[in-house]
Symmetry: D2
């Protein structure tokens, strides 16, 4: 592992006026969780909820989409936010594709959601690698259908001052926080624009808006991702693609360790809000909204 890390930076080999810049990387194969698929059983999805009566005044506010015929893709599925996005989308009846560098870590989640009747596949994918993302989209489309909702939820960050930050770490953070968002959002938009529908949600944080001490790597990537969100929204909203940027100004709970006295956002509530963005009717779309717990300071997070 130490050997691997020593190989993981950019290197340069110069011969006369020509240099070769290179780094090694581990390929992340795009493949679904077939093993788990075999174990999947058809489940009764509980007593169906009867539709609201036609006479009900609430009828007008039901979502215009029936999400239960749709496919969602989450890129960057970690404990907390990513896991709860998966649960929320599956709960609505969507087919759900989960992508992560390490798909094996998603086994338990896939089992859980499949057991509850969800149609959920996990895929290995390196979001910063254009070919890996292209393969992901093609595979998901073939196996679950073209995604109607794509969420970019990758975040990479290790704190440090500008003076202490090394170039490979700076580049790598940007690749995770911003370049991957571009590659995924572009692939999604290219697929959605001809269809004239779909939602692309990019996930930001405090550092999307404020460059604080010790947050260089995160802020550079997150500012860039916000720029992408602004440009893409202006470009593809008119084609019917809803691009939105969510700003999570909070710690997100990903375990129960800190529960006592520590302020954290519940990821299932964030996930519900992201799902709500997907369901917004197009005459009143939101391009940006922020989230933090009620008892949290404003703009003091990562």
């Amino acid at each position: 592992m130490r050997l691997w890390r020593s190989l993981n930076g950019w290197r340069q080999l110069s011969v006369g006026p020509v240099s070769l810049f290179y780094r090694f990387g581990r390929s992340v194969p795009v493949s679904n969780n077939r093993r788990r698929q075999h174990q999947r059983v058809k489940l009764d999805r509980g007593t169906p909820v009867p539709p609201a009566s036609a006479a009900s005044p609430l009828r007008d506010y039901d979502s215009e989409r029936d999400a239960s015929t749709e496919t969602a893709l989450i890129v960057g599925v970690g404990p907390g936010y990513g896991f709860e996005l998966a649960r929320r989308f599956a709960a609505s009846g969507m087919r759900v594709a989960l992508a992560s560098r390490n798909a094996e870590r998603l086994d338990d989640l896939v089992d859980e959601l499949s057991a509850a009747g969800g149609q959920v596949n996990a895929y290995g994918c390196d979001a910063t690698d254009e070919r890996s993302v292209a393969a992901l989209l093609a595979t998901v489309t073939a196996e679950l259908g073209a995604p109607h909702l794509v969420v970019y939820a990758v975040q990479g960050f290790c704190p440090g001052t500008v003076l202490d930050t090394e170039v490979p770490a700076f580049e790598e953070s940007w690749r995770q926080n911003c370049l991957g968002g571009f590659i995924v959002a572009r692939a999604a938009a290219r697929m959605m624009v001809p269809l004239g529908r779909g939602s692309i949600i990019l996930t930001g944080s405090t550092s999307s808006l404020i460059g604080r001490e010790d947050h260089l790597n995160l802020a550079v990537g997150k500012f860039g991702l916000r720029a992408l969100a602004q440009v893409l929204a202006r470009e593809v909203w008119p084609s019917g693609i809803h691009v939105a940027h969510v700003v999570i100004d909070a710690d997100v709970k990903d375990s129960d360790i800190f529960e006592a006295g520590y302020t954290q956002a519940e990821p299932r509530h964030l996930a519900d809000a992201v799902f709500g963005l997907h369901r917004q009717p197009r005459t009143a779309w939101t391009s940006e909204m922020d989230f933090r717990p009620w008892n949290e300071k404003f703009w003091q997070h990562c």
Copy 2:
């Protein structure tokens, strides 16, 4: 009426070193629509929607509040946005108080919502007058219960350059767009903080964020309202009061006249989003979100 207008500015009477600054105003009595109340009949509210089964995976995402036992107050109810807020809140089962300088214009709306089974009262109120707002809150509380959700939806604007703007118009715009918001929000917060729950929604527009040519009066008031929203959120979120600022970067449809080819936000979708803010669980509250139609330019509106 012309006489009235000529009286409606601030005046100054000086005697030696002391000046008296004064203006005349018409009092707006706070009283509900009793006439209509007498006509109201108990209505069957349609077949009730059965609650989702406990086994349903969607159960976790149902709102934590049962809005049907709550009271909403909308200050500034005009065709379009205000009317649809009323319809949305009534549709959820909330008791709804509507306040407007001219409550009589709300008669048809009250009749409509009452006929559909809603418990809706309209009140005359001058939001820029502290005493009028205090009377409003007291009356609403007595008649419908203390409000759980208060929306400030007053907006006053006539375009004009800085050079052409007269001081009384400048002051009056600010009083409607900002002072009234302060008076209403403060009264709401004073009532909600001891109870530890409630939502206060302030309504902004493009001019909340950008001071564009010819938008002086609107921008000065809307910037100020946004300042209020930021301060109040920081102060009362920790008491469990959700303060949020919505930025409507769009024309809002208030009739069918411009429908063909003209881009407008559907007010019922805005209203649904405002209701959604009220229902956000407190571990992931939003302080600001924007709205515009899919086919609209960004930040080019009032």
Copy 3:
């Protein structure tokens, strides 16, 4: 004085449907410091600085204006920032008009600058009173010439939460921080636009950009003043009037009391920067810039 304070809020007298809103105010007569004028002596202004040689490469960067033939007006002259603006403008050779509610407090400053050879008059003026400002502009123009540079430096603030803020204090803060800025800037712009030249500088603070806890009154006024700056810049820059907004994110030193260990901005450096804005050539004007000391936290002030 206590009597006076008790009179100083807005009052309301209602007769049937008509209300009279009124408050008392002390008139601030606009008159210059004639007494001091009599004592003024013609002073030798020291050895004149020879102009840079035509061959000097620095010649191209000399200001395009010769400020020494110009007139400056500062509205809101207090110890610290206002005093140093006066010193800076006088040092450049400008004729300087100082306006304050209480012109007598400016006696020593006028004496000091006059003794150094400056042509400096102090005027009483209530910036929130349109007639007082009109009289001020007329008097200054008659006595010192039409102003080429007008700085609005009034700031009024007493901290407090939204819940604790009374309406008269809210209104009065806004009148000082924003309404006065509008009245002064409009009067200045109306005078400058026909001449096609001039600078109007509006003074903001941390609370111009962020609404922090306990800063309600300041933030509402300062947000509004910033809106005014944005609108007015877009409207009158094309006429050759430079409108700029300076954001002082710092405590400004106004005495030597806190000097040890306490971080403050030197007002003479702020004043020099404001003068620099006035001298900017019009192909590269600045609309907003911020200031704070090197050893200060960002965005943590009033």
Copy 4:
């Protein structure tokens, strides 16, 4: 050249689970313009400007630094902005180091400034290559002294929509607009912090603040550069290093072709303002300021 372009993207070679990512680059040797140095003659710098008399009231506003003993480094020297920065700094008497990928294009400028008595060297450097920047700083320090003022003025942009943007172009734009700024600013800060003085100026544009249609590549890099500026300012201001971000919301004149009727910022005025930032006393530093011509629309540029 076509061959070269075809080589210039990132490539990937996979063997089993390991991939090699690589691209070719041309090395940019860091060397000064020695040829021109030989031709340089000692020049009389014109009649020196006598210092302002000690009795002059303007004395207090003279810069606290004597720039004529200092060294400036400009990274990214193109016609227009970069050239005029060089002229401005040289005019103040600073030693000036110019860095560009193609130093030969700076020959005429170096000749011009040397003929006027300046001590100016041009260096080839690839700002996106850490080793090239390290060599540049070392060479400049050895030949002209450690820089007191470093300006990052590289900008790379070709317009295009998100859908049409290829990954190598996206990465390359970011490397020029943001990564290079990080490498240069970090190298400068590492040199300046131990000395406790110096200025680092990063150059932004409209796209630093707004992500507009067709401006993806510029906006992602410029947003990131602004994040860097915010973080670095908070980190090194307390060490006495002035980091500032200038936002040029304008076309900058780099030739006389468009002069008639076309609105452009004069680069010599921008350069003068940048020099002014370097001279700001540290009790009132600016972190960000914007520039545009008087007759230009706000926020409509690149």
